[in-house]
Structure formats: structure tokens, C-alpha cells
Subunit: 96 residues, 2 copies
């Protein structure tokens, strides 16, 4: 997990919205884009960032490209956050 890439990816509201949309299951780039006002090119840029952070996985299916969540990476991120703050009952990722 490239921490910096993940944090950077999560810092943009559009990308968080994309992740949110993928909660319900895998979607094609077009299906995701339908919910946003920005161009497909901009969307592609965001997809690239999310992929670089390993937050989503892609699979080509015919002319479509299907995106799906990679939950584990964001779980890792959540663990990092918990670790940043001690004295809270030692849950996920308890290193001490």
C-alpha cells in the first residue's frame, strides 16, 4: 500500500463519490460517469488515480471496462488512521 497515493486519491470529492457509487457492486466506466457532470476524459483521469492507489480494480468486458472496489486497501487506510491515534481502546491494527 502506497500510503501517499491512497491519501491523495481520497482527497478529491469526485473520487470519493465514485467509490461510494461502487459500493453497490461493479459498474462500467459509463455507468459511473452517468452520475457526474464532468467529461469522460476527466472521469478517466480520476479512475487512473484510483487505480494507482489500488482502490479499484478493472476488468475489460467487451467494449466496456468494469470497475470494482478493492476494499482491503481502504481498510488498510482506516487502520493507519486508527493507529495515528492511541489511547482509544486498541482496535484494528493494534500495534502496541
Amino acid at each position: 500500500m502506497k500510503q501517499q497515493d491512497v491519501f491523495k486519491a481520497m482527497a478529491d470529492p469526485t473520487r470519493r463519490a465514485i467509490l461510494k457509487r461502487l459500493q453497490g457492486g461493479a459498474l462500467t466506466a459509463g455507468e459511473i460517469g452517468a452520475a457526474f457532470e464532468i467529461t469522460g476524459a476527466s472521469l478517466s483521469h480520476h479512475f487512473a488515480v484510483l487505480k494507482r492507489a489500488d482502490l479499484v480494480r478493472t476488468e475489460r468486458r467487451g467494449q466496456y471496462i468494469v470497475y470494482s472496489l478493492n476494499s482491503t486497501v481502504v481498510e488498510d487506510l482506516a487502520r493507519v488512521l486508527f493507529d495515528l491515534f492511541p489511547n482509544r481502546g486498541g482496535r484494528a491494527g493494534d500495534k502496541s
Copy 2:
């Protein structure tokens, strides 16, 4: 919690390092700065971002200003992340 401010704040490695340093307890601006190569002015900028995100609290003590973590906000953030990803055993912030 202003989600966007928090995510933006966490996106910078210097700011994450500052939070990390504060794990051991409250520190003055100068004590924190001693660990970084950047100028005090740049540090101040980062402090401002962290404060806007409500990730740190400040208290003036004489000529010093003391910074401390505000754990709850980052815990909230971690919860948001967990919520982004369903089907993982429903822990913190379980909304469903």
C-alpha cells in the same frame, strides 16, 4: 466534521508526520518544527490546515503555542472509510 477539510489535511505527508509526532502528547509549535527541514512559516501553514480540519487543538501558554491531537475527528474519518466499504463484518459506525 467537514469531511473535505479532513481528507485534504491528511493528504500531505508533512501534516501526517506532524500528527504522528503529536501521538506522544502535546508539543509546542517549535518542538514540532524541530523535526522538519521547512521554515516556521510553512509549518504554520500546515498547522492552520490541521486546525481548520479540527484535527488538532491549540492553546497558548505564555509565548508558546501548544498543539495537541483531537483524536475524535480522525476516528470519525476512519469510520467514514469503513462505511465506504460494506461486507466486512460491520464494525465502527455500522449504519445499516
